[in-house]
Amino acid sequence: MIFSSLYFLCIFLPLFLLIFYLSRGDLRKWVIVLFSAFFYAWGAPVFIFFLLASSIIDFFLAKQFEPGVNNRKTFLGLSIVLNVGLLAYFKYANFFVDNFSILSDAVGFGTFSIEEVILPIGISFFTFQKISYALDVYYGRNKPLDSFLDYLLYIMMFPQLIAGPIVRFNDVSEQIRNYRENKLNDKVEGVYRFIIGLGKKVLLANTFAEVAETINRIPIDNLPLADSWLGILAYTFQIYYDFAGYSDMAIGLGLMLGIRFPENFNFPYLSRSITEFWQRWHMTLGAWMRDYLYIPLGGNRVSKTRVYFNLLIVFLISGFWHGAAWNFVIWGLFHGFFLMIERAWLGKLLKKLPSIIQILYTFFVVVISWVFFSMEFSDAIAYLGKMFSFGKIPLYTKVSNKVVFTFALGILFAFLAPKQKQLNFFNSAIGRISLKPSLSLLTYPVFILILVLSFMVLMTSDFNPFIYYRF
């Protein structure tokens, strides 16, 4: 069940909100956890038991991490090994076995295989949250939660359970510990935020996805230049609105429930360097990697060579986190390489150039990186070949007025970030109802329209993919 499915929107969400708002006190936590368990079991009926069991173990292990407890390092090691081990097994076992098999065959030992391991949905996200909890408790940034219910609330809350944002324990520990009735303003802001996300996902991302899919079906050998660019640009906007839309929905749902999740996107295609891009794209993954991997590796306080090496390691793992396939590894290394050269010399050079050039440079590198992200390496090379070959230029794919309109909107919303003043005005209009109730009323019909249009598209079209669901 994804947030943009009619089942979620028409049945699960209204039922949940109704029961949630009718309940009081700690009962609300139970409502969230029970609905979250059902939400997860809907898509992973067997793995819910695995998630619950591993959560019980993690919760009790973390009790042993507190400063002053004997052997706490051993318990931390146990917790990390357990979580990373499970992630490695479920997510990467097939990949490693397949690759070792190819290698073994190449050196004459023949092939071997294992039964296919099924990936539990959301494992990449909740494992990172569990590790975050363990490390934050271990390093004394936070005390472990007293109640298992609170721990389940942190790990299993359905808005962020299967596709993030990756909420570091530090970000929400106080909110969970002192969980109480959320402000009415937050609820209204949550509603608006959810609708914005739904609109991004359904009205924009799905239209871009149809274009990307149509072009993806053309054999690469026959792909004309213009179509190859249209295809990858459509994918570039699809993945942004897909994931950013989903994150907005998650943040909106969090607000409706009384938890403020960290932001995940901040106009990433407006970045002036790849370094900045990673401060604006999937920000919660970037923050997690920084806090729990880059800094423990030495961060910036080591030699230049070591910093470059750390960057490559972080981005190798970031790439691999996205999926057990070589294209993700290459995608990660590709970004890591640009981060490295920006730190070495390109960054200084870029700063001397006009902003528009910096933005175009970053956008260009990111678009190229999506080629690696979206297809196997050999296909990606062939696809890039088509993007830069000037043989067949004309656009063969039929582009409807609707697609042109969606592209215009997509570009507008991706590149025209509001200034702080406008953002404040907008926030006051959509969220801070106590400040500007009249504005809230004025903007409300616009949001209702987005909701109704999204419903219409969802009922009409069978096409509703979600890229980050498989991570």
Binding site: M1, L6, Y7, C10, P14, K187, V188, M456, T460, D462
Partner: protein, 381 residues
Amino acid sequence: MRQSLAYILVFSFILLLSAPLVFELWLDKGDIKPLKGTFRKAKPMKLNWDNWVNKEWQQRQEEIVKKNLKIKPSVVRLQHEMDYQLFDVYHMGDLLVGKDGYYFSWGWADKRCCVNTLDQDSTRIFVKKLKKLSNLYRKKGKYMRVIIVPSKEEIFSDKLPDEYAYDNPDNDYRRYKKLLDEYKVEYWDLLEFYRGIMDTASHPIYSPTSVHWTKYGTSFTIFKLLDDMDAFFGNRMNQLTVEGRKLSQFVHKDGDTEATLNLLSRIDTSSNFMYLDYGVKRKENAFRPKVITIGDSYYGNIRECEMLPEIYADHSKFLYYYSKVHLIHNNKTKRVKDLNIENEFKKADAFILLNSSHNLKNFPFGFQYDIDKVIKALESQ
């Protein structure tokens, strides 16, 4: 005030989310015009441990919400209308928008200009057997007619988009005709016949927004065929007559493409469509031939001529794509494979093979596998 305003906003959001379910309880089935085309409903499934674990039940529940909501047809129509009005987007797979508001089948237009799908070798064998069947029929005093109805893409080829305008001299239609000529199988190619009618007809013979010929357009073939058959059988058949005429906007299949677009508004608003009220001039001891017709969807309007059961024998049959059997005297259908095809042909007085000119992919739709049996049965009769 502010507090209650916020409550209203949040509550109305929840209400809006549940609106489709509220409509589910409120709307009556009869209130909603069903959608045309490939919209299928999902069947409910009983929950058990197995279908929960393999997620079949969950998927079915999601499908039910997606496909079966009573409000869906209205929402789909509204969405289609908006896309059509605002963006000129049509939600239909096999649609080619031509010049001056003419709609075509993309697949059939493609077969006219660019793609061959008729297998020449197997069709040659079939046509050879068809000749043999025709000889046998003639010998036994039975009537047989092969008819090629001009596809809309052929007769309105000047309205096709430029990229489909090429008249391929070696397309399926011409290959089929060449084979019929080569083996001297008698056939009617109705292209010139209809071109002649269209020069003088003041009502649509083919509608701009349909795939097929109109009911009025079909009537010319019905009369031509029945007259020919009657002459063959010695003028002993009941005669089809026209008792009245009515002008209106298109009804039923005369705008089938437009209907399949599932819009709220009408595209073709012309009131110039002619609908005939048929009657029958009965003859004493009239001969009512048992007629077997094999054909594509173009025979639909012939089958729906409400007086045909008075002219054909009761056990006459229409074999749609040689797959589904439409009976002449009621609306029941069955499968061709459940028929004793040898008996059907033995008892038949007339056989008509009717197909539109650019729908020859998979032609003759399976009859090629049974024609030997039919010939053998007729030879031994």
